[in-house]
């Protein structure tokens, strides 16, 4: 392995801008790394050798012409639910298996404009529905720390690619924890900005009131660089927020003096077993040691988050996925009439988890059940957001687990609800639209697998969040070793 693949995005961009190395040489090293390990890991559904080389050459030309690019030559994994013009974009679904995107999503375009080089389209749970990548219809992704275990999901391909040095930045999308949980499982930083901070134009929709794009990286500094490149208003996404983005990269901190960090009373980590309980208690103590004042806060409706989410997200998905009907693009299975064509196309094109969620959502929105399920859940969501508002009167950030266990073995969660439980700690922040991230905080289990500390901030306080996470990372450095199994 060429050691250049281990460098952070910040180091690569600095060196490419200073012409100490070319984007083309960085790209060749990463492509060689992908060819060396990805048959075993399965991070990428599509490798983009030609496009990567073209883009790297373009970056070198721009640098030669005197430009300085914030992500010059940085190898990028793009989750395969984001459109990249001219490349296969599948959402890891058979219904889009051969679909070529005719345009590029705004978030991806901004990364390319900043000089990033797309290495491949990374695996995910089908339509981003899942917590392990096991719901991908198109491939298996393995955890680089233990090949018998899942990488998490749904952004598991991007998380594993970054952990295994097959990219420096992975783009993910998070609806209920789909960036933070795989970040924790693969020992990388997974950052979900405030809802609306990053344009969703060109992101294949799952649950539109929750979906948010964000980066997976090996360092908090890289997460800040990626965020600074991708965030900001986009007229093509009417839900994108029209307010200035304060650059996060210059505001990274080395201590937590003057910050009050809330520990959620209802998140009783003792339920997770003695080892994990001790791990999170140590993480909270590390925050205090850096100067933070720890305060107990309450989220009285935290226990209802999962139920709220598993009505709202499926309801929105049942509506969003109605567009896959075999008419305009994607798979079609013929039938005797148009109704049969729809039903057969969707039966053949969607996997079991996607069908389950469409059915739940359809039921929750159907006549006679709409008020009891969907409206009730939207009211519970209001209560959840109010909980956070009150909690943030007493603290500046909230600390919590990112997932309730380390990465688990394949096929070990046979009951859908036990898989949904993986998102218990990440869903409340998603319901409230808050920025939140997962940062490596140690290892648990046998073999020892990475765990993540989740930090969450009030709406639009990404800079505070990343600043604090940086201080924690610098003081603890649990992620320095990188992936060990390959």
């Amino acid at each position: 392995m060429n050691d250049v693949v281990k460098r952070s995005a910040a180091e690569i961009a600095r060196d490419v801008n200073a012409k100490r190395i070319s984007a083309r040489d960085v790209t060749e090293a990463v492509l060689a790394r992908v060819d060396e390990v990805d048959d075993r890991l399965g991070c990428y559904l599509t490798r983009l050798h030609d496009l990567a080389r073209e883009q790297a050459s373009r970056v070198d030309e721009r640098v030669a012409a005197g430009e300085s690019l914030p992500l010059a030559g940085v190898p990028l994994a793009v989750k395969d639910n984001m459109c990249l013009s001219g490349t296969r974009t599948t959402a890891a679904s058979k219904i889009l298996e051969n679909w070529i995107a005719p345009y590029t999503s705004t978030a991806v375009q901004r990364m390319l404009d900043a000089g990033a080089v797309p290495i491949g389209k990374s695996n995910l749970d089908e339509f981003a529905m899942g917590s392990s990548c096991e719901n991908s219809a198109l491939g298996v992704t393995r955890n680089p720390y233990d090949l018998q275990r899942v990488p998490g999901g749904s952004s598991g391909g991007s998380a594993a690619a970054v952990a295994a040095f097959e990219a420096a930045i992975g783009m993910g999308s998070d609806t209920g924890g789909s960036i933070r949980e795989p970040g924790a499982f693969c020992n990388v930083v997974g950052f979900k900005p405030t809802y609306g901070r990053v344009s969703r134009y060109g992101l294949i929709a799952f649950a539109s009131s929750l979906d948010q794009i964000g980066p997976l990286t090996r360092t908090v500094e890289d997460a800040a660089l990626a965020y600074d490149a991708m965030a900001g208003h986009d007229p093509m996404d009417s839900t994108s927020i029209d307010r200035p983005v304060e650059p996060a990269a210059p505001s990274l901190r080395e201590d937590l003096e003057g910050l009050r960090i809330g520990i959620v009373k209802e998140f009783v980590t003792a339920k997770l077993g003695a080892e994990i309980d001790a791990l999170y208690k140590r993480a909270y103590a590390e925050l205090a040691k850096l100067g933070a004042e720890l305060v107990e806060v309450s989220l009285p409706t935290a226990d209802y988050g999962l139920a709220t989410y598993y009505l709202i997200a499926p309801a929105e998905c049942s509506s969003n996925l109605a567009r896959f009907d075999g008419v305009r693009y994607g798979l079609r299975v013929d039938g005797a009439d148009v109704g049969q064509m729809y039903e057969q196309t969707r039966a053949a094109g969607f996997g079991p988890e996607v069908k389950r969620r469409i059915l739940i959502g359809t039921y929750a929105l159907s006549s006679g059940y709409y008020d009891a399920y969907y409206v009730k859940a939207q009211k519970a969501r209001t209560m959840s957001a109010q909980d956070f508002k009150k909690a943030f009167e007493h603290c500046d950030l909230i600390a919590a687990p990112a997932a309730s266990s380390p990465a688990f073995e394949f096929d070990s969660k046979s009951d859908p609800y036990s898989m949904y439980m993986m998102d218990y700690y990440t869903i409340p922040m998603s319901l409230a639209g808050l920025p939140a991230l997962s940062v490596p905080c140690g290892y648990a289990g046998t073999p020892a697998m990475p765990m993540g500390l989740q930090l969450a901030a009030p709406l639009f306080e990404e800079t505070r969040l990343l600043g604090a996470a940086h201080a924690y990372e610098r003081a603890t450095a649990y992620a320095v070793e990188g992936a060990i199994a390959v």
Binding site: S209, L311, R328, G330, L359, P416
Partner: protein
Amino acid sequence: MASEKIDVRYVAKLARIALSEDEAERFGKQLGDLLAHVNVLSELETASVPATAQVVESRNVERSDEAGPCLDRETVLSMAPQREGSFFRVPKIIGQP
């Protein structure tokens, strides 16, 4: 928690998804179990709580009704599973329920 009994065939019809016998049985049970879990929401007193419409302070967005750049017709039609000239081709619709 008692599993709910739901008519999964009816729901699948609404969702336009054909189900095999096996799927109907499995999904029916799994959906019933899930609904039993989500029924914990009935414990929350929500009579005076407004339903969430949005979580950030976004406003309705309008633009002037002017044509802008968009994908050209050939690009769009080239993605179609079946086309005829400049049309998407579909099975007969008129007369269907």
